[in-house]
Symmetry: C2
Subunit: 159 residues, 2 copies
DNA sequence: TCACTAAATGAAAATCAATTTCAATAGCAA
DNA sequence: TTGCTATTGAAATTGATTTTCATTTAGTGA
């Protein structure tokens, strides 16, 4: 890792080391805040901007990609294996991955047909995950009179 | 229109009328700022928040959808005909649409297989559009020595 | 080992789109 | 008309992201 960065003109520092390691431990769909919390648990002197900058760097060198699902918080997704799309649960805000190889093929064709030089795909399915629907069903059984539907309102940017 | 809104408990006002009309005139992939500018040209007394709120309302009543391409600016897309995906040119930031009916079918299958209750799809192809590549090629012919590649850097949120 | 230089850091400030607040205004139903 | 409520516009707030800047540090090579 140190060597890898050195060839690109970057230096290795304890903070960078920690941020990188923490990111790869956390794995998928990590937000800056989540990573910052994680890093702070080990070294509370590390600054937010350091975490942010190193997350950007991880993307810069091609080890992660930004994922924006429209809830106002950018997540960072480790670049591994084959391309994948995301299920985004509007209720619990979780992300699940699904394979994209079949669909990617079709998208490539479309892009070629339209003379578009593809850099990447972004495929997202918004809806409600099974776990949320199960919970909802249980609740519905208890409360037969009213129908407390799952709120599918788009989340506000505020906490 | 007035009647349509009335049934949902909304009132019609000159400002609302103007915002709605302007939105449908502009058509596709409109940002709040763009719409605000347009509206202001006709009535400069209309406030930004009024435009914003009415754009939200247009979505609320199902006439438009938000489109987020990851450049930090939400666009609003008139809901028409069949579902479509977007080409997003990383160079000129333009959006082009492409048909999604074939791909949508596959996505539905994937969602069903994973017990996910789909609400909507979001399919985006990032890359460089033909027009941008043409310009680039012309430039390359003139300047044979250097190679002034198109910047594919993700745009900053700042103006 | 030592000194030098560019890169990196942390705190704070700035930016920016999005959203809310609030007092004043204006639809519209009765 | 009257009264109630939705709507408006300006300004303030929010929350994520990004930059600034003074200081520290990694890596280089004498
Ligand atoms: Mn992922
Ligand atoms: Mn569109
Ligand atoms: Zn869920
Ligand atoms: Zn272009």
């Amino acid at each position: 890792m140190r060597e890898f960065l050195k060839t690109k003109g970057y230096k290795m520092t304890p903070q960078r080391e920690l941020v990188f390691r923490s990111f790869f431990e956390l794995g998928e769909h990590v937000s800056v805040d989540e990573l910052f919390d994680r890093v702070k648990r080990i070294d509370k002197a590390v600054g937010y901007s350091t975490v942010w900058r190193n997350l950007k760097l991880i993307c810069e060198v091609g080890l992660a990609r930004e994922v924006t699902v429209g809830d106002g918080v950018t997540r960072y997704d480790r670049v591994t294996r084959k391309p994948h799309g995301h299920f985004y649960c509007l209720n619990c805000k979780s992300l699940q991955e699904f394979d994209l190889n079949e669909i990617a093929g079709r998208l490539s064709k479309v892009a070629t047909a339209e003379k578009f030089a593809t850099e990447s795909f972004k495929v997202e399915i918004e809806g409600v995950c099974q776990s949320c629907r199960d919970k909802e069903n249980k609740k519905a059984k208890r409360t037969l009179s009213t129908s407390p539907k799952i709120s599918r309102t788009k989340p506000s940017r505020q906490k």
